[in-house]
C-alpha cells in the first residue's frame, strides 16, 4: 500500500492532487488533502444533490453552509440548530463516540453566538439478540447523558430504534438547539489581512487523528483497531469554553469563529479562509499541546475536542485573552490572515504545508455517482397471520421499536435550565424561552422501514412526521435539520436511494413550508459489505407564540370524546403490525398526500391555538391504537373505543395511513369542532371516549392498564438489567 492509499486517496485523486500542486506533497500536505477530500469533509458524493434541497423561507436567517442553521422567532431572537452524526466513532467506542457527538454539535451552535437550550438525539442499534447491542446501547446512552448532563443542557426528546441492519453499524445522530440575539449572530467568514488567528479551548493531543477519514470508510471485522481514532470528550472543558465564548461575544471582539470539529485545525482554518476568500498562516509552535514533540502532521490532523479557532479584531486581543484567562481556558495567537489565498503551515521554522485553499474546497473531487433504480415496489404484501386483537396490541407495545424508552431517557437530565415544559415520552420536547411567553417545540423523526421500502416516500414521511409531532405540541413548524445516514454511495442502488431521499425531503419541505437550514451526511455505514437501511433523520423546530395555550392542554379528562383527524386506517403493508407478526415487512409503505397533510395539520394547530381540544397525539408507527395506548398510559386513564365494522377492525386499529392525529374534546365543544372541521374540509371520525381506566374496544376486548403498562415498559429493563 503506498502512502496515498493508506490515506484513502485513490489513484485518480492522487493524479489530481499532483496535478494541482505540480510537485510532490509533503507528508503533512498529504494528511491535509486526505482529510479535506474525505467524504466527511468534502461531501464529494452528495454535494451535487444537496443543492436541490429546499432551503428558503421568510423565517430563514441562515440556511446550510454555516456551522448551523438560523431561524427567526421574532422579538430580535433567533433559534440556531443543527443535527450531526457520530455513527462510526460510536460503534468503535460507544461512550466517547456518543459523548463527543453531543459536544461537537453543541459547539456548532454556540460558535454562532447561541446559548444551547436543548439537546435531542436519534439513536439506532441492531437487534436485541445481537451480542453487541446491549454494550452499544448502554455505552451510547451513558455517553450522551454524561456529556449533556455535565455541560448542563437538557436532553428533552429523541428516538431509539432497533433493526438488524444496524447490527454492524449503529447510528448516533445528535441535535442541539440554541437561542441567540438576532443581531448578534457570529459567522465563520474570515477577513482583515493581518488579523490574528486565535486558538482557544482544550490542548491538542494525538487523539482523533484521521477520525474524518475513518468516518468515511466502511467497517470490517478489524474495525476495533480504529479505537485510537476516536476522540475523548471532556464536558467540563466544554462548559468553560462555552461560557468564555459567550462572554467574549458580548465584547465586539470577534470577526469570525469556527469550531474545530472533524479534521480539527485543518478544516477549521481552511473553511474560515475559504469563506472569506483570504489566505491563512499558522505557526504550529504556538499551538497549546497536551504532550511534547507533536509533529506538524499530528497537530493538523488531531481531532482533540473542545477547541475553537477565531479571527479577532487586533485591538481587542488583550480583552479576549483576559476573558479566557478568567475561565481558565487556553488562549494562543497561532497565526494571521494573509492575502495569499493559501494555507501556509510552519513548524520549527520549516514550511510544512503551502496549499492554495481552493484545491482543498471548491476544487476538491466531486462525484456524480452512478445510480440504478431497483424497483422494489408493488411486490405482494405478506398476509398477516390471524392474531387476536388483544394479543396484537400487547405484542406491538412489547416490541423493540414501539416499547417505552424510559430506560434511555431517565439517564438524560431533562429538567436543567428549569424551562422544560414537555419532554420524552410525548411527541417531542418543549422548552420555554426565558422571560417571554414563547416556547420552542422540537422533534426528531424517521421510519427506516418506510425508507428502505421506498426512499422517496420514506423521506417525505419523515419530514411529515416531524411536522405532525410539532403541530401536536401546539407549535407552528419553522424549519428542519437532517442527518442523512446511508451505506456505500459507490453502490448504484444506494446512490439512487440517496437521490430519491433528497427529492422526498425537498417535496415535503416545499409543501409544508418547512425548509432545511442545516444538516449532515453520513455515508459508508456498512460492515463487511452489508449496509444499514437508509435513515434520513429529520430534526425540526416550531414556535409556540404564547405558552398560555398549553395550560390544561395535554392531561386527559374523563368523559372527553376521542376523535381521529384524517381518514380511517386500512394500510397494513409495511406496518409495525406486519413487521412484528411476520418478522419482516413488505415494501409498500403508506402513500402520503402532502396537501392533505398540510390541511389536516393546519386544522389541528388552529384547534389547539383556539383551545377547542384538550389533548393531541400524532398517529404513526403502530397505527391509531398504539397512539391511544401511549396517551392513556401517560395519564393513567382508560379509553372506550368503538369500531363500527368488526371486519375492518385490524385495519382501523393498526393501519399506518398518514396525516392523522388523535385528539380529545370536551363534549360541550364538539359542535364548534365539527363546524370548524367541515369549514376547513378536514375529515374526522368519532372514535370513543376517555374513561377512568382500562382499554375497551367494542365491549368485546378489554385490556387492563396493568397489562398495557407491563407490555409497554418491561422490555428494555428486562434485557438491560439482565446481567447474563
Amino acid at each position: 500500500m503506498d502512502i496515498y492509499e493508506s490515506h484513502s486517496i485513490n489513484k485518480e485523486e492522487k493524479e489530481l492532487l499532483l496535478n494541482y500542486l505540480g510537485r510532490d506533497p509533503s507528508h503533512t500536505e498529504i494528511g491535509i488533502f486526505s482529510v479535506m477530500w474525505s467524504e466527511h469533509c468534502s461531501y464529494k458524493s452528495s454535494r451535487h444533490w444537496l443543492k436541490k434541497l429546499h432551503t428558503k423561507g421568510k423565517q430563514v436567517i441562515q440556511g446550510p453552509g454555516e456551522n448551523a442553521g438560523v431561524v427567526d422567532i421574532g422579538d430580535n431572537q433567533a433559534i440556531i440548530f443543527k443535527m450531526e452524526s457520530h455513527n462510526h466513532p460510536s460503534f468503535i467506542e460507544p461512550y466517547q463516540g456518543a459523548a463527543t457527538g453531543v459536544g461537537g454539535i453543541m459547539r456548532d451552535v454556540f460558535t454562532m453566538g447561541a446559548r444551547p437550550i436543548a439537546l435531542l438525539n436519534s439513536i439506532r442499534f441492531g437487534e436485541f439478540t445481537h451480542p453487541k447491542t446491549k454494550f452499544l446501547l448502554s455505552g451510547v446512552v451513558a455517553g450522551i447523558g454524561g456529556y449533556g448532563n455535565c455541560v448542563g443542557i437538557p436532553t428533552i426528546a429523541g428516538e431509539t430504534g432497533f433493526d438488524s441492519s444496524y447490527n454492524g453499524n449503529n447510528l448516533v445522530n445528535a441535535m442541539c438547539v440554541g437561542l441567540a440575539t438576532k443581531d448578534k449572530i457570529f459567522y465563520s467568514k474570515a477577513s482583515g489581512i493581518g488579523n490574528p488567528v486565535v486558538y482557544v479551548g482544550a490542548k491538542t493531543g494525538r487523539d482523533g487523528i484521521h477520525g474524518a477519514t475513518m468516518a468515511s470508510g466502511e467497517f470490517d471485522d478489524e474495525s476495533e483497531k480504529n479505537r485510537p481514532t476516536v476522540q475523548v470528550g471532556d464536558p467540563y472543558a466544554e462548559k468553560l469554553l462555552l461560557e468564555a465564548c459567550l462572554e467574549l461575544m458580548q465584547k465586539d471582539a470577534i470577526i469570525s469563529i469556527q469550531d474545530m470539529g472533524a479534521a480539527g485545525l485543518t478544516s477549521s482554518s481552511v473553511e474560515m479562509a475559504d469563506k472569506g476568500k483570504v489566505g491563512i498562516e499558522l505557526n504550529l509552535n504556538n499551538i497549546p499541546t497536551r504532550q511534547q514533540n507533536l509533529t506538524a502532521y499530528e497537530m493538523m490532523l488531531s481531532e482533540s475536542q473542545e477547541r475553537m479557532l477565531m479571527v479577532l479584531k487586533p485591538e481587542k486581543t488583550e480583552i479576549a485573552k483576559e476573558v479566557f484567562k478568567k475561565w481558565g481556558v487556553d488562549f494562543a495567537i497561532v497565526g494571521k490572515i494573509t492575502e495569499t489565498n493559501n494555507i501556509v503551515v510552519s513548524h520549527n521554522g520549516i514550511i510544512e504545508a503551502d496549499i492554495p485553499i481552493k484545491f482543498l474546497t471548491d476544487n476538491a473531487p466531486m462525484y456524480k455517482r452512478k445510480k440504478i433504480n431497483k424497483n422494489k415496489r408493488n411486490q405482494k404484501s405478506q398476509p398477516i397471520p390471524s392474531i387476536k386483537t388483544k394479543d396484537a396490541i400487547l405484542k406491538l407495545l412489547n416490541s423493540p421499536n414501539l416499547c417505552s424508552k424510559k430506560w434511555v431517557w431517565e439517564q438524560y437530565d431533562r429538567t436543567i435550565m428549569a424551562n422544560t415544559l414537555n419532554d420524552a415520552g410525548r411527541d417531542g420536547g418543549i422548552v420555554r424561552i426565558e422571560n417571554t411567553e414563547k416556547a420552542i417545540a422540537m422533534s426528531c423523526d424517521v421510519n427506516p422501514r418506510y425508507c428502505h421500502a421506498d426512499a422517496k416516500i420514506g423521506a417525505m414521511q419523515a419530514v411529515a412526521e416531524c411536522w405532525r409531532n410539532i403541530i401536536s405540541m401546539g407549535a407552528k413548524p419553522l424549519a428542519i435539520t437532517n442527518c442523512l445516514n446511508f451505506g456505500n454511495p459507490e453502490k448504484p442502488e444506494i446512490m439512487n436511494d440517496f437521490v430519491e431521499t433528497i427529492e422526498g425531503i425537498r417535496d415535503a419541505s416545499i409543501v409544508l413550508d418547512f425548509p432545511v437550514v442545516s444538516g449532515n451526511v453520513s455515508l459508508y455505514n456498512e460492515t463487511n459489505g452489508v449496509a444499514i437501511k437508509n435513515t434520513p433523520t429529520i430534526g425540526g423546530v416550531g414556535l409556540i407564540e404564547s405558552i398560555g395555550v398549553l395550560d390544561n392542554f395535554g392531561p386527559l379528562n374523563i368523559g372527553d370524546s376521542i376523535y381521529m383527524i384524517g381518514k380511517k386506517g386500512s394500510h397494513l403493508s409495511c406496518s409495525s403490525l406486519e413487521e412484528v407478526c411476520n418478522g419482516k415487512s413488505s415494501i409498500n409503505p403508506p402513500e402520503i398526500d402532502l396537501n392533505q397533510e398540510k390541511l389536516n395539520g393546519t386544522g389541528v394547530l388552529e384547534l389547539i391555538q383556539e383551545r377547542i381540544i384538550t389533548s393531541c397525539h400524532d398517529i404513526s408507527d403502530g397505527g391509531m391504537i398504539v397512539a391511544i395506548c401511549e396517551m392513556i398510559m401517560m395519564d393513567n386513564r382508560g379509553a372506550a373505543i368503538n369500531i363500527v365494522d368488526d371486519t375492518k377492525m385490524i385495519g382501523e386499529l393498526f393501519g399506518e395511513d398518514q396525516s392523522r392525529y388523535i385528539i380529545t374534546i370536551p363534549p360541550e365543544r364538539e359542535s364548534i369542532f365539527e363546524k370548524k372541521m367541515k369549514k376547513l374540509g378536514v375529515k374526522y371520525e368519532l372514535i370513543g371516549c376517555i374513561t377512568s381506566s382500562q382499554l375497551k374496544i367494542n365491549d368485546s376486548i378489554v385490556i387492563s392498564n396493568n397489562e398495557i403498562r407491563d407490555a409497554y415498559e418491561s422490555l428494555i429493563p428486562s434485557i438491560m438489567n439482565n446481567r447474563a
Partner: protein, 221 residues
C-alpha cells in the same frame, strides 16, 4: 434579605437557582465566583448544582478544598443559613459541614425524574411553609446521590432528627431513603432534589418554591 450564590468552574445550576430566587422571592441574588476571597454579607448562601471541576476525582471533592470554603465554613459555624443543592450537597459533605457522603447511584446510572419526597419536619428555617409529613414532588437529576454513612453516624443523624427530606420510594440506594439533611444546628441544609427547578406549575411542579419561601418567611418574622 441578601442571597449569595457561589459558582465554581463547572457549576451549571447557578442561573436556574438565581432565576428561582428572583421568581419566588423577588430578590436579586448575588452570584460570586469561588475565586473571591470572601463571601459578602449574606442571610442565605446557596451552593447550586452542577459538575464542579468536572466532578473529577470525586463529586464535589475539589470544590470543597477551594479557599472560599474556609469563609463558608466560618459563616456556617456563625449560624449563617446555607443550602447545598445536588453538587452543592456533595461539596458540603466533602467539606464535612454535613455528615455522610454521596456515592454512585445503586443503578450506577444517572437518574433524571420527578420524585415524591416526604417532609420530615416543618420547624426549620428551610421548611416552615411545608406541613410535617407532607408529600411533595420535586425533580432529581444526579449520578452520585446514594447517601451513605456508617451506622453510628446514621444513628446520630436520626437521633438528632437531622433528616430533612426522604424519598417516598427507594430511588438511588440512599440509606434510610435520605434525600436531604441538616447539620446539628439546623442552619445548613444539603439535598439532592432540585427545588429551583420546581417553582412553576408549567414546568410540572411548584413544590420547590416553599424552600425559598420558608427562608424569606423566617427572615421577615
Amino acid at each position: 434579605m441578601n442571597v449569595t450564590i457561589i459558582r465554581f468552574p463547572g457549576t451549571n445550576c447557578d442561573l436556574d437557582t438565581a432565576n428561582a430566587v428572583k421568581k419566588v422571592l423577588g430578590i436579586e441574588p448575588k452570584i460570586i465566583s469561588c475565586k473571591e476571597n470572601k463571601i459578602p454579607k449574606s442571610d442565605l448562601i446557596i451552593i447550586p448544582g452542577g459538575f464542579s471541576y468536572g466532578d473529577y476525582l470525586r463529586s464535589g471533592a475539589i470544590a470543597a478544598r477551594e479557599p472560599i470554603m474556609d469563609d463558608l465554613e466560618l459563616k456556617g459555624n456563625q449560624g449563617v443559613y446555607i443550602i447545598g443543592i445536588c453538587n452543592g450537597f456533595q461539596i458540603l459533605t466533602e467539606r464535612k459541614l454535613l455528615p455522610g457522603s454521596l456515592l454512585k447511584n445503586s443503578s450506577l446510572k444517572f437518574i433524571s425524574k420527578n420524585v415524591e419526597l416526604k417532609i420530615t419536619r416543618n420547624d426549620t428555617y428551610f421548611t416552615s411553609k411545608y406541613q410535617t409529613n407532607e408529600i411533595v414532588n420535586i425533580p432529581i437529576a444526579h449520578h452520585d446521590g446514594n447517601f451513605f454513612a456508617d451506622q453510628d453516624t446514621l444513628d446520630s443523624i436520626e437521633a438528632n432528627n437531622q433528616v430533612a427530606f426522604r424519598y417516598l420510594n427507594p430511588v438511588n440506594g440512599s440509606l434510610n431513603n435520605i434525600a436531604g439533611l441538616y447539620n446539628k444546628n439546623l442552619n445548613i441544609l444539603g439535598l439532592m432534589p432540585h427545588p429551583e427547578r420546581a417553582v412553576d406549575i408549567r414546568t410540572g411542579t411548584k413544590d420547590g418554591s416553599r424552600v425559598f419561601e420558608s427562608a424569606l418567611n423566617f427572615y421577615s418574622t
